[in-house]
Amino acid sequence: MADAQQTQNLTLVQSVRDGLYTEMHNDDEVIVLGEDVGKNGGVFRATEGLYDEFGEDRVIDTPLAESGIVGCSVGMAAYGLKPVPEIQFSGFMYPAFDQIVSHVGRLRTRSRGRFTCPMVIRAPYGGGIRAPEHHSESKEAFYAHEPGLKVVIPSTPYDTKGLLISAIRDPDPVIFLEPKLIYRAFRGDVPEDDYEVPIGEAAVRREGEDVTVVTWGAMTRPTMEAAENLAEEGVECEVIDLRTISPIDKETIVESFEKTGRAAVVHEAPKKGGIGGEITAMLQEEALLYQEAPVKRITGFDVPFPLYALEDYYLPSPTRVEEGIRETVEF
């Protein structure tokens, strides 16, 4: 129908909840499990009300054991359910890392397609909320490095619901990292019905001729701010919000780079071994002859994410982003 769809004005975390709610209604096999996801509705309220709506067999408070949560999800998924485990903070995913890299990402391969692991491992990630130790890291590169996993990071409420629904429907496992700095920073229109935002497609948030700036998650905001500031000086940035870290939307990035000849990547994860390096290498391989300047990586530092007295210095600020882009443009 051509009618305008009913929309709600939601924050990003409300949109997570809405995505879960929608897909749990659509599909009885979808279950949510994790620490405090039930009665408490999740420590960030991402599962609020789901327990009352769907009951304790579909919204399950588990013992405090990440390897248990993800490892059992492997068995559940192989047996025909669609588990959506929540890891309370991405910094606590490591007890489950063994299961994630040893089994979640490879069950299909190991069983030659007989067994699969369609699950969505959700976790809030990233810094900037004055949280305690081990609550702020962004280690998306770990998961992107692992064959067999898809890695999704939304940056708007609209994308969040659409990507989450796509992730739940995806026949393969998806690591769904939610930038908690922007969980409640702003609202956006989110359709009430279900819809999909395809995994693996980047969004061009701003068009420009001078430089391609690739980013995702919470960093899209300082990047857009930097881009607006630079526009006042006559530098037009094309800002690409990756949305999916793995598989990367090569086409959108390369196409933009062929137009601008310059690129910068902005991420809050440490620089070394980060996705910024992956994108740089990709541009070398795919579009070397278009390159007019070194690709600039504007990132967190190669140090453990600091306690909050120093976190503002750690995170790429609009000023750092702006200066980094300027360097590329002025090269």
């Binding site: 408490n40 420590v43 013992p63 305690p132 530092f301």
Partner: protein, 367 residues
């Protein structure tokens, strides 16, 4: 023969809820008893002030301990100077006993890495936020000390929720196999955020889990500081000097309650009844010990008031000291990543320092 020699299903108690003696009292001097009482009040008052600082935006997320003072102070006193302590993130009271200044604890929760800087002569490991991870560190250190031929005990704290993690099982299993002088002290405060103890395990008690690893488990009333002291002291002695045929490790389950929220980011009214809180408040360790001390005429009104006043002054001084520490310099982030600053980190720091020089701090700081 076993020093503890107890059934893990039997709960050790020295004081009942009113402070009457119902078990065998540990051998503690009057001075020591008053010190324990004072430190419990200090921890309680510190807690109240810390929560209030968080509410005022002067501190980050903070995990309150009220209700758990008996378990913390009682157990920490059972250690000898040379022994070691491996805390989780809620042992602000135990840290005081071991000589960590309150200012340090405040600094840590105010987001300063320096809060974790423990003096060389204080045997306390840094706060462990990832649940249960410190259990293995304690086991490893205990094991190492045996290999080196020391005679020390290694006590580690963790919650009831932590007993669900693989690290708990691996830590206890190693300790049993290698006969490590470790004391596993579980603060069973009934809740792991919103998930109740019954949802962590189908075992009747947590203490009984020790049986599976081949050593002793003991359940103690965690809000009875004297009982906690007693069982922990016995466990420490056994770790250093076990009887023939007896293994060194012990698992202690201290049954208790945290009166407040899990952390200041948590709202317990969503998952827990006020009735339950009230019921547990009857077991409050502070009035219990106070009544015991008054009965023995070790304390009177005047002394109690004096203690309260001194505790308040001490906390106020610590807050002032912590708040007057300036924001750390960004350089500190880089300095402690490796023993020697590698070139790529020096470069990252210098690039950042130049930007900061050019733009000033306001371009980087949110507040």
């Amino acid at each position: 023969m076993s020093t503890l020699e107890r059934d893990p299903l039997e709960q050790v108690q020295v004081l009942d809820e009113d402070g009457n003696v119902v078990g065998e009292e540990p051998d503690l001097s009057e001075e020591k008893l008053v010190e324990m009482y004072r430190q419990m009040r200090l921890a309680r008052h510190f807690d109240k002030r810390a929560v209030s600082l968080q509410r005022q935006g002067r501190m980050g997320t903070y995990p309150p301990l009220s209700g758990q003072e008996g378990a913390q102070i009682g157990s920490a006193h059972a250690l000898d100077d040379e022994d070691w302590l491996f805390p989780s993130y809620r042992e602000h009271g135990a840290a005081v006993v071991r000589g960590l200044p309150l200012k340090q604890t405040l600094l840590y929760w105010m987001g300063h890495e320096d809060g974790n800087k423990v003096a060389e002569d204080v045997n306390v490991f840094p706060v462990a936020v990832p649940i249960a991870t410190q259990i293995l560190h304690a086991t490893g250190a205990a094991w190492a000390s045996r290999l080196k031929g020391d005679e020390k005990a290694f006590l580690t704290y963790f919650g009831d929720g932590a007993t669900s993690e693989g690290d708990f099982h691996e830590g206890l299993n190693f300790a049993g196999v290698f006969d490590a002088p470790a004391v596993f002290f579980c603060n069973n405060n009934q809740w792991a955020i919103s998930v109740p103890r019954e949802r962590q395990t189908a075992s009747e008690t947590l203490a009984q889990k020790a049986v599976a690893y081949g050593f002793e488990g003991v359940q103690v009333d965690g809000m009875d500081p004297l009982a906690v002291y007693k069982v922990t002291r016995e466990a420490v002695e056994k770790a250093k000097n076990p009887d023939e045929g007896e293994l060194r490790p012990t698992l202690i389950e201290a049954v208790q309650y945290r009166f407040g929220a899990h952390t200041t980011a948590d709202d317990p009214t969503v998952y827990r009844d006020d009735d339950e809180v009230e019921r547990w408040k009857q077991k409050d360790p502070i009035p219990r010990l106070e009544s015991y001390l008054r009965d023995r005429e070790i304390l009177d009104d005047e002394r109690v008031e004096e203690i309260q006043a001194s505790v308040e002054a001490e906390v106020a001084d610590a807050i002032e000291a912590a708040e007057s520490v300036p924001r750390p310099e960004p350089e500190e982030m880089f300095e402690h990543t490796f023993a020697e600053l590698p070139p790529h980190l020096r470069e990252q720091y210098e690039e950042f320092a130049a930007l900061r020089e050019r733009h000033g701090d306001s371009a980087f700081l949110e507040d």
